[in-house]
Amino acid sequence: MPSVTYITHDGVPYAVEAVSGTNCMQAAIDNGVPGIDADCGGQCSCATCHVIVDPAWSARVGPPGTAENGMLGLTPERTETSRLACQVTLDDGLDGLVLHLPEFQM
């Protein structure tokens, strides 16, 4: 059971216990974390599940894939460590992961 902390743009943390194998978008939606819209339902085609990986975790999480990279290009708040939450699958290696939410979803 990896735990993930989502920190909203106003600095409010939401700690979530997730099941290994789920993705970070689903874990947020299932636990009522605000600030992720996920319009496409996890198909890497809306970019409304944008999260900014805490720098301490970005090497472990890794870079976006090609399609994801293209979609991230649509969001003006993109940073060096931006990912689409639906494309980050959780496992025990990511226990303790910290994700920051942007001010807006595109």
Binding site: D37, D39, C40, C46, M71
Partner: protein, 416 residues
Amino acid sequence: MTMRNMLDCDPQSIPLEHIDVSQAELYEHDRQDAFFTRLRAESPVHRCAESAFGPYWSITRFDDIVAVESDFETFSSEPNILIADQPDDFEVRSFITMDPPEHDSNRAAVQGAVAPQNLKQLEGVIRERVGQILDGLPVGETFDWVDRVSIELTTQMLATLFDFPFEERRRLTRWSDIAIATPELSGSALVTEEQRRAELGECLQTFLGLWQQRAARPEGFDLISMLARGEATRDLPSRPMDLLGTLMLLIVGGNDTTRNSISGGVVALNRNPEEYAKLRANPGLIPNMVSEIIRWQSPVLHMRRRATRDVELGGQTIREGDKVVMWYISGNRDGDAILDPFAFRIDRERARHHVAFGFGIHRCMGNRLGELQLRLTWEEVMKRFEFVELVGEPVRTRSNFIRGIAELPVRLHRRH
């Protein structure tokens, strides 16, 4: 050719291969739903061999639309995203008809103007203008909601985004209305091709004048200043057809769509009085209702792609070069993706899960702006009026691209 008029055909018994959902009259009479329901069930990836626009494939299921949108290498947006082809000697271009990487740099140049951060600053202005428009409306007498509210509001918005001379703003409406309103391009009959070119020529000249002013003081955050600054776009005046294409994209993209959603909401609430009652009891539902209105109206009926290779989809083989048309109006009625899709429910769960803005890299750039305008409209309407009563049948637009409402007779009842 022996093309059948779909209005004369029974959607249940017509042989599948005769179904042609490109006929604009279907949408003018709001008769498309039964044809799409049949296609989704029996032939979700459907080939129409003969139409006014040549042979084309229809993609009708939500998931298939997402799949096509996501694979821009197989399904290219070039040369056009309308089911119709553009005339060879008058071909406008913009980033909606480009593939990566060209698309990405051109979109990036203007995206900032409608990014949520900017919208926060626009919110006050829009709310004030909505209030002024609503305060000027007659109470207790019949008038056309489309002209007085939907068009006026979206046109003011557009003038604001372009920083266009405010008194001349209805010229923007006109250019938006005629952009593709010929029989050849969308099945509409508003203008002839000759007229269209003449008026779009005026549009281009007007904007070239504005461009010159803006390029001289390039700090503004209006769309023209941003284009004049953008690396991929600053030379647009030397490519007039590209400039015209980009202008038309921004004018039409933000106009017809939002306008028809503002009108469509009035129709939806009147047809579903129990939903209107919910709204009166809880105006906090407005943000959710906005997404539901946009799904319900589906103001953009389709976008087209071109297959760049032979590809299997839904058990069919699409050939290289074929036209592939994604029908958003159908995806938004797909019961496999949306619960009870024909019901209008303002408190629907996951209301944002619709395909009206498209998906993938071309996903609507102005989606938050469209939503914002609708939200502010309804917030201000609810402060003032108990009931925007529909007192006659809506007149619908004849087009296979925009699901439009041309006239909407209403009567206002003040809040008590």
